[in-house]
Symmetry: C2
Subunit: 378 residues, 2 copies
DNA sequence: TCTATTTGCTTTATCGATTCAGCACACTAC
DNA sequence: GTAGTGTGCTGAATCGATAAAGCAAATAGA
């Protein structure tokens, strides 16, 4: 059994042609029932396993697609990848994992390799707003889906499938929440402005500030490129302002943890001296003593949905455009001061912006999925 | 360019045979220099890209291997996967990511699929001590490497490549550390005893206890199968003992966080009322306010080394057995009480067991790699 | 100058599975 | 009894790249 059995081998044993074997195993109608059964029996006996490579060569389908992310060590990705992998497996696909390491050349190389290796499609979560690698894919009609991040190109955007969270709404929710808790000087720690996520979260935040008659003061805006270290430094810059903010919105949790470190190092209390809201709801947020209020994305669902879109596209060529925007949800924990202050004030509620219309505060107890996912071994 | 160019297309354009093109692109010595250059130019002009599937069919090499893990959401794996992916890319390979979800049938199916898809080898990190899927691979001479976990089968073990951390030493280090800090009643929260990691950590712990004339009391041993919830419950069981422990060693950080939750919920202080040591050094351990003392594994290096072994095996058939055991390192933070107590006592140092011979306490400031890895965007 | 050797390219077989065309043979219909 | 329709299998081509074998023409050696 070391040497793999081929169709030819089985054909020889059964004393028929390879086509007969192929037909028998594929349940082709024009094969005799008795011959079929005989062949199937022989194939089973000899542990015949079809060679997917040969099959792919002929069929132009590999049953594999690529997943391009920036870096799997980013705590955002494992959950996304899990959703993708589970759904892919359910639909009969495997995934090749590729990390760009934030390197455009590497990304280009990876896409090229994936295509040469015959993947049926690509799921992209690392696209930048002007990503040059997207256009050729569209031009070639190569199946792909953007997940998490979009691009900024009106013509192109209307031809591209994607699954993202409504980052604008999310950014709005963070600000709205802090506003309702009485904050009027809110600083924003932004991600990389080359990404749609950061851009949209910033836009949403800005818009909500405006709705309340506030402006996003330049001094209170710190572009930190999703870097924890930069967020740490920026926090001290904010603290040394003549009029420091009373609350900080960090556009992802990782930066929020950097802010948190800075605040604690600076001897401030959270949320008493400074309220803090993050984005993503990575697992570390929920740890007792950290308890970061954050805007939660359904990363697992996002991944699964992207796979559904991609497979639909692969298997039904010419299928129509699929774009989905999931709603974020605010996870109210302790870093914002909601619990301490006893909730929103009436006057603030009266001023509630549309951003919070559909928002409900979930019980922190139900924040994390229980069961299998909670088993973490090694 | 939508339709991929093939060798045949290029041959037609150049007015030569496909073999000529193949030879030109592979720099075969028996192709004329001028013809070669002409062909190369044409291939470039038309963006010829070789079809890896066809190549694989002929060469029996796919340049891809499988990575079988239990669940990418387990915080232990991303770093391992990163090491694997980076090294794989460096050596010209891609990886297909497969999660078993702790399901033996799924694992079997995955291995089968991977082999049918023609992967050149498999890296296995989910093996259980009596894993039934390993033997057939050995019997077939299929290239694979175990990483993180080993199996327990004397005959088989001597024929299998692996890269693991010295879990026995690690378990010993945890106990030794607590012992030197004056603890004499140390509870152990174990992982699944179907895994070599948990088994060896337990053995190491037990051995070190014995070296100090202590025994691992059954009451102080809680089998928790790497479940955070189970660890939480077990902690309360320990607390309600007539003579509760003064320290707890949890065999991974995730369970340690469960223990931590329980202790905090029970109104105890860490480390004043209970010392706590974990294993793995996942990122959450280092967060301010958590600061879990833990036994650190070089997960990234482990992954990279496993790839090196696997590729060696793939590319040089008949290469000799490769087994590597990396040394763990203790990361002393705050949950053990080392800082509070001002370090080890003289008398304890005198009793130091061999387990700690090579141990040095690292400055917590150098715990986390800086730079690129610290950028976490989405 | 005539046999060797080298050079440069083409032909052909191969990898393993699939699929269409083809061809007996059986069966139905009128 | 002959034309027409099915049935059940074989043969050959195909997917795209590779490599061994083959075969001219050019070069070298004596």
């Amino acid at each position: 059994m070391n040497q793999k059995m081929t169709l030819k081998d089985i054909a020889q044993i059964a004393g028929v042609s390879t086509s007969a074997v192929s037909m028998a195993l594929k349940n082709h109608p024009r094969i005799g029932i008795q011959t079929k059964n005989r062949i199937i029996k022989i194939a089973e006996k000899w542990h015949y396993q079809p060679n997917h490579i040969a099959r792919s060569l002929k069929s132009k389908r590999s049953g594999t697609f690529g997943l391009v992310i920036t870096n799997i060590m980013n705590p955002f990705y494992p959950e996304l990848a899990k959703g993708i992998e589970d759904k892919a497996m359910e639909l009969g696909y495997n995934i090749i994992l590729c990390s760009t390491n934030y390197d455009a050349d590497r990304q280009k190389y990876l896409i090229n390799t994936l295509r040469n290796k015959g993947v049926d499609g690509i799921i992209f979560s690392s696209a930048e707003i002007n990503d040059v690698n997207i256009k050729p894919l569209v031009a070639d009609g190569f199946p792909f889906v953007l997940v998490n991040r979009r691009i900024r190109n009106k013509k192109l955007d209307q031809r591209i499938d994607f699954v993202v969270v409504d980052n604008t709404a999310g950014g709005g929710m963070a600000i709205e929440h802090l506003y309702r808790l009485g904050h009027r000087r809110i600083a924003i720690i932004t991600g990389s402005l080359a990404t749609s996520t950061a851009l949209e979260r910033t836009e949403g935040a800005r818009k909500t500030l405006l709705e309340h008659g506030l402006v996003a003061e330049p001094d209170l805006m710190k572009v930190c490129n999703f870097s924890k270290e930069r967020a740490y430094e920026a926090t001290f810059e904010l603290l040394s302002l003549p009029a420091p903010p009373t609350a900080i919105f960090a556009e992802n949790d990782y930066m929020a943890l950097g802010v948190r470190d800075a605040l604690l190092d600076g001897g401030l209390r959270i949320p008493e001296d400074m309220a803090l809201v993050g984005f993503d709801d990575i697992e570390a947020c929920a740890i007792k003593g950290v308890e970061l209020t954050t805007i939660s994305q359904k990363k697992y669902d996002m991944g699964a949905q992207a796979v559904t879109f991609l497979v639909e596209k692969i298997e039904h060529t010419g299928s129509h455009l699929k774009q989905m925007m999931l709603s974020p949800e605010i996870m109210i924990r302790k870093s914002c001061g909601y619990a301490q202050s006893g909730g929103y004030t009436d006057s603030d509620l009266r001023l509630a912006s549309p951003a919070m219309k559909s928002t409900r505060a979930r019980d922190p107890a139900e924040n994390r999925p229980k069961g299998k996912n909670a088993v973490v071994e090694n």
